[in-house]
Each structure stands twice: as structure tokens, then as C-alpha cells.
């Protein structure tokens, strides 16, 4: 049954991607706002369709923390494709720092390419960092928020990677605040899992971190500590709730 539900889910969202991308040329010369609105209809559909087909819903906490008067760098844990989709309806107009290979996927990648992403070569080292800062500042100035997953890749619940410095460095250099986000999507929609577990994902938006007077490393530490503490509170896995810093026991 879970397989049938997942099949229905994927047929729906892939058909919708094809439809959206086929008509996207109509929006190439429109203001970004229009194009963004059009392209993000796919995410809205996907989240709604997920609830219908896989009975996977979500709830949000901390909407008051989204600043009104400035663009921000959103730093979040990464467990699933879900968080990249849902943020489109929860957070202001934004784009992503992503691995450039994603843009090469048929349809999906073409759609992504229209969203002003910062597409980096993961093995690019210093060059990639420079690109994040330069293009990041450009996007922030143009009124776009930026989503960065500092751990770089999707990880299963309970595992952790060292936080890359790019997002925090962008905050230090640009002076724009960091908005931390923590969720447990991987407990319901794990990476590389075809079927989804029914239930309710929790996504928490934390207090924005003002980078004034902070070094990038300190910003990263604050974000990581907030994400770890918050994760222990929202996880549905008992062992992770008890564990130190959200690490596996």
C-alpha cells in the first residue's frame, strides 16, 4: 500500500514538473517575482499532493522570527528533498546554494536554473567559497533570500557533517542575518527512500542571528548549537532525543 501511495505521489509531481517547465518560457522575460510565483506552484502542489497520497503533513513553529525588513541567509539541516520544497511556501522569495550537477537533470534542473541558484562545484574549494560570497551578496541585494545547507548534503537522522563555512562567511561579509531552520523530514521522507512514512514533520524557524561583531566560525557555532538543541526536542526517535548534541548514541 505504501508503494502504491508513493507511486501516485511521484507520478503526480513528475507530471507537474513537466507541465510547469513546458510553460516556463512564458516567464523568462517577466519580473523575477512573477517567475518565482509561477515556478513555486509546483512546490505547493507537491506538498499538498504528499498529504493526499502519502498522508504526510507538517507543522511549523516560530514564524515570528522571519525578519520583515531585510533579506537573510537561511541555514538549515538537510535530510530530505522535502525541506527544499516546503520552504518555498514558508519563507520569503529565495534561491539555493546547490551542487551544479542538479541543473543537469532533465526538466527539474531546467526549472531550477530559472531560479537564480548559486550553483557550485562541490570540489571547488576556495573558488566555490568565493562564488558563494560574490553571488550571495548579489542575490541578497536583489531582494532574494538564500538557502544554504551547511552540512552540504542530505544526511540520515542522527548523523552529522562538519558545517561548511560558506553561509556563515556570507553573513559576516554581507552583514545580513542568518535565519536558522531545523526539521525532522528525514524521519518520514528519508533520502533515497521510495515510500514515505505517514505522520507530521515538524519544522522550526529560530531567532535570527545578527552577524555584527561575530566571526564566521562563531556564527556557524551558534547555528549548529541551535539546530542540535532544537532537533533533540522535535525528533520522533527516542534515542536521538536523549543523545548528546543530537549525535547518534
Amino acid at each position: 500500500m505504501a508503494h502504491l501511495r508513493a507511486i501516485a505521489f511521484y507520478i503526480g509531481i513528475y507530471s507537474m514538473i513537466v507541465i510547469i517547465v513546458l510553460f516556463s518560457p512564458l516567464f523568462i522575460f517577466t519580473p523575477h517575482r512573477w517567475r518565482y510565483f509561477y515556478m513555486t506552484r509546483w512546490g505547493r502542489f507537491a506538498i499538498w499532493w504528499l498529504r493526499i497520497t502519502c498522508r504526510l503533513d507538517f507543522r511549523v513553529e516560530g514564524r515570528e522570527h522571519i525578519p520583515r525588513d531585510t533579506t537573510c541567509i537561511i541555514m538549515a539541516n538537510h535530510q530530505s528533498a522535502w525541506e527544499t520544497i516546503v520552504m518555498q511556501q514558508l519563507l520569503p522569495r529565495h534561491t539555493w546554494v546547490l551542487k551544479r550537477e542538479l541543473l543537469w537533470l532533465p526538466f527539474f534542473g531546467w526549472g531550477l536554473a530559472l531560479m537564480f541558484p548559486i550553483a557550485i562545484d562541490r570540489k571547488g574549494g576556495k573558488k566555490a567559497l568565493k562564488q558563494v560570497i560574490q553571488q550571495g551578496i548579489d542575490r541578497l541585494k536583489r531582494g532574494l533570500w538564500i538557502v544554504i545547507f551547511p552540512e552540504g548534503t542530505r544526511l540520515p537522522p542522527g548523523s552529522k557533517h562538519r558545517y561548511a563555512i560558506g553561509g556563515a562567511m556570507l553573513a559576516e561579509k554581507s552583514g545580513h542575518p542568518v535565519l536558522p531552520v531545523c526539521h525532522n523530514a528525514g524521519e518520514f521522507w528519508p533520502k533515497d527512500n521510495f515510500t514515505k512514512r505517514p505522520g507530521t514533520i515538524t519544522l522550526v524557524i529560530g531567532p535570527a542571528i545578527n552577524p555584527a561583531g561575530l566571526r564566521a566560525k562563531e556564527i556557524n557555532e551558534q547555528v549548529e548549537q541551535w539546530i542540535n538543541t532544537t532537533y533533540r526536542r522535535i525528533t520522533s526517535i527516542e534515542a536521538l532525543r536523549q543523545s548528546d548534541q543530537g549525535k547518534p548514541v
Binding site: 511549523v60 513553529e61 522571519i66 526536542r233 522535535i234
Partner: protein, 181 residues
């Protein structure tokens, strides 16, 4: 899924004429957290709108307010409750802002962020100004007797005519949920 807006001091937690200035002073009223969890289970999006002029007056800072709300959310998480948004007005009463109740600015901001209409949304408060703000946006005002509730009833009997009154948040939620069925 319906939206509901609660006042904070005197509805969710004990109020004080001297402001709630610290995490230690933030003490939930009996049954209020369980009432919020029941709302969540019934499918409500629970939000809070609270005047916190103590910040504008310099009595406590934003970090302290965040810590209070962190405490609230931790206590709620333990019983399966959850608050989607806690809107607050940090300004002094004489600052002339649009958010301080009885102005409806915070309710409008909640509606904008959550993406729903305020029409007939239940708004539970203990002061007249909570409910005036609700009336200004065609929401559904409900008074509780906790906090400043009794005082509000005595002082503003006329203005509060026709508004349902309950002993506390738990009783108001009971009535709301049984009425929904």
C-alpha cells in the same frame, strides 16, 4: 484547518501588573498547555499575539523574551502541543505603532504569514483590548476570567456585552471543540 489566536499573559501563563520579566516568572496557568495541545489535535493552527511593552520600557530584552517562548515551546512539546507563531509588540504604549493591541496589526501579520483569513477566527484574551482588536478584523472574541479577566468584566461590562466568557483557557477550548462537532 482553522486558525486560533491567544493572548499570552493571563491566558496561557500567570500575569503580573509588574510585567513578566524573566523565564522564571513565566509560569503556565493550570490546564492551559493541555488546552493548547487539544487544539492542535483538533487541527487548529495555534498562534499567540502579545503586547510586550516591557521591551520598549527597557525592563527586559528580546533574548529574554525568546527564552520565555522557548520554555513555553519545550513544555508544550512534552505533551504534544505546538504554537506556530508568537507575534509580539515590543513598543512603548506612546510609540504610536500599529501592532500594539487594541490595534489589530499583530492579528493581520499572523493572517499574512499563516496565509488564512481572520474572518470568525477565535481570539481568546483576558483584556478588552485583545477583543477590540478581534472585533476590528471581524474575528470572534472570547473572554477568559483568568489574568485581568475579572477586572475587565467589572470595568468594561458594556463593551463586553454579548461576548462569551469562560473560566479559563481550558474551559474556553472545551466549549470551542464541542461546538465544532
Amino acid at each position: 484547518m482553522g486558525l486560533i489566536i491567544l493572548d499570552r499573559d493571563g491566558v496561557i501563563n500567570q500575569d503580573s501588573d509588574n510585567f513578566i520579566r524573566s523565564v522564571e516568572e513565566f509560569i503556565p496557568l493550570p490546564g492551559s498547555l493541555e488546552a493548547i495541545a487539544r487544539l492542535n489535535q483538533a487541527g487548529y493552527i495555534v498562534t499567540v499575539a502579545t503586547n510586550q511593552s516591557g521591551i520598549g520600557r527597557g525592563l527586559f530584552d528580546l533574548n529574554t523574551l525568546n527564552a520565555m517562548h522557548d520554555k513555553l515551546r519545550k513544555l508544550l512539546a512534552a505533551i504534544g502541543g505546538q504554537v506556530e507563531m508568537i507575534a509580539f509588540c515590543p513598543h512603548n504604549p506612546d510609540a504610536g505603532c500599529d501592532c500594539r493591541k487594541p490595534k489589530p496589526g499583530m492579528y493581520l501579520e499572523i493572517a499574512r504569514r499563516v496565509g488564512v483569513s481572520l474572518q470568525d477566527v477565535p481570539v481568546i484574551g483576558d483584556s478588552l483590548r485583545d477583543l477590540q482588536a478581534a472585533q476590528a478584523v471581524a474575528a470572534r472574541p472570547i473572554l477568559v476570567r483568568t489574568g485581568k479577566g475579572e477586572r475587565s468584566l467589572a470595568k468594561s461590562a458594556n463593551e463586553l456585552q454579548g461576548i462569551p466568557v469562560y473560566a479559563d483557557l481550558a474551559a474556553a477550548v472545551d466549549a470551542l471543540l464541542s461546538g465544532d462537532k
